[in-house]
């Protein structure tokens, strides 16, 4: 089995590399599963002004209710862990808010265990926590989730591989081109340096854009600690196509 030291050396080879938008290169060998799951052929650039992908799916108040954004209310009891609220603003690269769009999240429980059959490490499941939520952004592009802080957990990339605590995010923009799936991390996690998935984002400034900020203003007295995670979606859209291509 590969050791952490070997992975560290591989991570160091790519560290600091500048990539378009700060997105990871899909071929990033320290994350072993990327090796056979990344294209070899160059991507084909599409510039069609009427491409269907410049528009995208829409969701409404029948699709998502406010209750869907509270992951602590799904069961008869309270989940165990540090209760947090995660909120932020979704915009495009011109800082325009992404309105009334779907934000989906999923995460491990406070002990670092996912409700998934393939995850069998000896941490407890929490009968009061599933770990999936949905929200619609408001007219200013803002969303808010109430949940508990997920724990870090081990995985099989190499010996003693641990994922830093994170919340998975799935986002829709005003266009299918702006689709984003990412992971939100917590400030100053000691596992960042060892994790090839976090390190697949090789620019330090881009890594910072994956880390939520603790925001005391957003902490709710006697209830929850507040984190802010603003999200910027990449890619052109039909509503702004000409502007985007100037």
């Amino acid at each position: 089995m590969v050791t952490q030291r070997e992975i560290d050396e591989e991570i160091a080879k790519y560290a600091g590399q500048v990539t378009p938008g700060g997105h990871p290169d899909r071929h990033y060998p320290p994350y072993r599963s990327s090796i056979l799951r990344s294209p070899r052929q160059p991507l084909t650039i599409v510039t069609e002004p009427d491409a269907t992908e410049l528009w995208g799916p829409v969701f409404g108040t029948g699709d998502v209710t406010e209750l869907d954004a509270d992951l602590t209310l799904r069961h008869s009891g309270e989940p165990i862990g540090e209760r947090i609220t995660v909120s932020g603003r979704v915009t495009d690269r011109l800082a325009r808010p992404v309105r009334n769009q779907l934000v989906e999240i999923w995460q491990a429980n406070g002990a670092g265990r996912y409700v998934h059959r393939r995850e069998q490490h000896p941490a407890p499941l929490d009968p009061n926590f599933t770990g999936a939520g949905r929200a619609l952004t408001n007219d200013d592009g803002e969303y808010l989730f109430t949940t508990i802080k997920p724990g870090p957990y081990p995985w099989g990339n190499h010996v003693n591989a641990w994922r830093p605590a994170h919340i998975h995010f799935s986002l829709f923009g005003t266009a299918f081109t702006q689709r984003l799936v990412t992971q939100m991390y917590f400030p100053a996690d000691p596992l960042f340096a060892f994790d090839p998935i976090f390190q697949s984002v090789t620019e330090p400034a881009a890594q910072q854009r994956l880390i939520a900020a603790y925001d005391h203003e957003r902490s709710v007295p006697n209830f929850s600690l507040g984190y802010r995670f603003d999200i910027v979606l990449d890619g052109p859209s039909a509503t702004h196509f000409e502007e985007d291509h100037q």
């Binding site: 994350y31 599963s33 294209p39 209710t65 869907d68 999923w106 491990a108 998934h116 990412t182 854009r209």
Partner: protein
């Protein structure tokens, strides 16, 4: 584009999305019992030709009248239980989502793409894939559009579904495999929207 902000980087969807992203009726984009319904199905393969059992695909297409603006109603939440109901079987929302099964297979039930937007857009997500991929499904009878005519013949072929006579009524099913990695005649054409 006068870009003010740097984007949030992508990260892999990971292996554990199964209790969060799929929803009832995700593959059933066509209104229930619609006579023009088609099935598009296939496998997602890795660079060794092995099927990928932990991929999830998003589908997006124009409405039959060519409208690209979509409609809400894909998910629908039950007001009393909070459970996801999925579609009402009437509205065509243009959006579908299918995760691959244990064999790496997926199947989508939808309407044929509109004549002036003659493809189904696909977003490919999988464990191991650090940034999702865009591709398109074109049915075999569709004339070459701007994208297809700009591709070398062996690349173009990767975007063409082929008729699958074994499934359903004749002419109603198509096979479309997605190869994430391979030689020029094997790897699916993936798109970048600059």
């Amino acid at each position: 584009m006068t870009r003010k902000l740097e984007p949030t980087p992508s990260q892999t969807v990971g292996p554990f999305f199964g209790y969060a992203l799929p929803f009832p009726g995700g593959p059933d984009v066509a209104p229930a019992g619609h006579p023009d319904s088609i099935t598009v199905h296939g496998y997602v393969y890795d660079g060794e030709g092995k099927p990928i059992p932990d991929a999830i695909l998003d589908f997006w297409q124009a409405a039959p009248d060519g409208s690209r603006t979509g409609e809400p109603g894909t998910l629908r939440v039950d007001a009393s239980s909070g459970e996801l109901l999925g579609r009402d079987g009437v509205r065509f929302t243009g959006f579908g989502r299918v995760s691959t099964d244990g064999d790496g297979h997926w199947a989508l039930h939808t309407l044929p793409p509109a004549a002036d937007a003659p493809y189904i857009a696909v977003g490919v997500f999988a464990r191991g894939l650090l940034h999702h991929l865009h591709t398109r499904v074109y049915l075999p009878e569709t004339p070459d559009d701007v994208l297809l005519s700009g591709l070398a013949p062996e690349r173009r072929a990767t975007l063409r579904a082929r008729k699958d006579e074994r499934v359903g009524p004749a002419g109603a099913a198509y096979r479309f495999d997605i190869r994430i990695q391979g030689g020029a005649s094997e790897e699916t054409v993936f798109l970048d929207f600059a």
